[in-house]
Symmetry: C2
Amino acid sequence: MTTANGRTADHSVDTLFLERWSPRAFDGRGISGAEAMSLFEAARWSASSYNSQPWRFLYARRDTPQWEPMLSLLNPSNRSWAERSALLVVVVSNSLMSVPGKDKPVPSHSHSFDTGAACASLALQATRMGLQAHGMVGFDMERAFTELNVPVGHRVEAAFAVGHIGDKSVLPPELQAREMPNARQPVASFTFEGGFPPGTG
Amino acid sequence: MTTANGRTADHSVDTLFLERWSPRAFDGRGISGAEAMSLFEAARWSASSYNSQPWRFLYARRDTPQWEPMLSLLNPSNRSWAERSALLVVVVSNSLMSVPGKDKPVPSHSHSFDTGAACASLALQATRMGLQAHGMVGFDMERAFTELNVPVGHRVEAAFAVGHIGDKSVLPPELQAREMPNARQPVASFTFEGGFPPGTG
């Protein structure tokens, strides 16, 4: 059993996984370009089908000209807290991949899955650096596709706000009440030895 | 700059991300049920849209009755090396999620992405435990769907073989030659400040 960050794991696990969470109360400090590169470097070494590396990261650091246009893609509720983060990332995947023995790129079954894996590494590296990454699907994906020049054949997957945790008093009362690491269903609820029980399918 | 596992990162990063790789030469030793639970525990604490936790893990440990049926789902080339792993996992995602204020489950944009993120945590926890996880899409997903009783509305995402690394001499010569941590494209190839360059889309 492992305990960290107000969470209790039912089975022994590295505390890094408990320490990663998705805060909203960021403190408004920025990060350097080098720090942003360390986050992407972690994502870089993730696994993918045929090592196709389908992940693409479109990003803006606060106090740069790219910040406001990217922030404006977020829904108002996400914008209200993400504006105090240090880095915004819109994550896109390439749905096509090159495989040995094929002349042309072929559809990847796992481009979204592989890109999610890369983002998990990004978030865990953020935690290691004293930062946290908060993922979002609440943003204008159609506007992101157009305004960020996303190529045809690519999928807009998610966005992330990364920053230093601040005092939760910066949040409105309803978000202050939720500003803590959240819980999970037990392992037994999502693992099945040998398959789902007969009759489930 | 960080170096580990025969890999060189261009930017400072936790060595855990370099140490995780996808070997084929496993040594045929098993893992305990408790060790398997630690892998799933890491996945459990991953982030997901509305904390929907869409990941489902169907698994078999070697030397159990569930092993052979799950191994038989793999393509012959994957079966030839995965048969020396300790744990096989077929990963499924629930495409529907419950959200506040809706009577019925709604489609999730990110069920595959979130499930990939959970699997990255599983693989990194494996590395921490002296194991490695090798992901695969080369298995019979249709048979997996039917024979593992996967419910309608769920997607078969990927499979993993997890085990202890063995001597590469157990592999045929063509796989021995590839049995080393592989490389990646540089960060600059998949990150774009402010969006893809104009004209890309």
